[in-house]
Symmetry: C2
Subunit: 121 residues, 2 copies
């Protein structure tokens, strides 16, 4: 069996805000996505989301705060918290969330990549 | 709110195989521990464990395989799989596992750090 090399996985990712699945554990998917620009405000009523910056840096905007994440740093967006991820420059991000979590929470937009569209790489 | 800086957290960790808790998400704890040498063979009947090497490199010995993890690489030990983590040199490792997961599975040894002893840092 082989370890998961995230840098190798990211080399196969095109586009921004397009999550790919790299592993599953205890009902959570481990996903990676490239971020650039502003995502949309959304929340997940019953699901926490774990973020870790693999390369670059991001901000997670909350309604009353902005959390800066440098390379290697992590943050858990608690269930119910409205948030908007932002990357001023391209950043590579690992996320863990339940297998049932929709990318944009309750808001399905044209930009939403549904779970069924989030392929394994 | 502040991001979790794992390197800062590791600077507060003494000893090897002594997990500390840095976050919780969806019933999972995010933990860090310094590894050096061989841990003990064990398994978790109902719980997957996610490993990511933050610094250094480790091996995860399975009964029929050895998985090499370089810095930044990840691996999920599936529920039920007997495994023994090994670090030939000191390595820093992040793990995610259910909040109920005992460090040494069903085997409680003198070396076991029980969940109650795994403090938040």
């Amino acid at each position: 069996m082989l370890a998961i090399n995230l840098i190798d996985k990211f080399s196969k990712v095109d586009g921004y805000w397009k999550p790919k699945i790299v592993a599953e554990m205890n009902g959570q998917y481990v996903k990676i996505a490239k971020f650039k620009g502003e995502f949309i405000w959304h929340s997940h009523a019953a699901e926490d989301v774990f973020f870790q910056v693999v390369k670059g840096q991001i901000q997670i905007h909350l309604r009353d705060d902005i959390v800066d994440l440098l390379e290697g740093e992590c943050f858990v967006v608690p269930k119910g918290a409205e948030h908007m991820p932002v990357a001023h420059e391209e950043a590579w991000v690992m996320m863990l969330e339940p297998v049932s979590t929709q990318q944009t929470g309750e808001y399905l937009t044209e930009a939403t990549v549904t779970i069924e569209q989030q392929e394994w790489i």
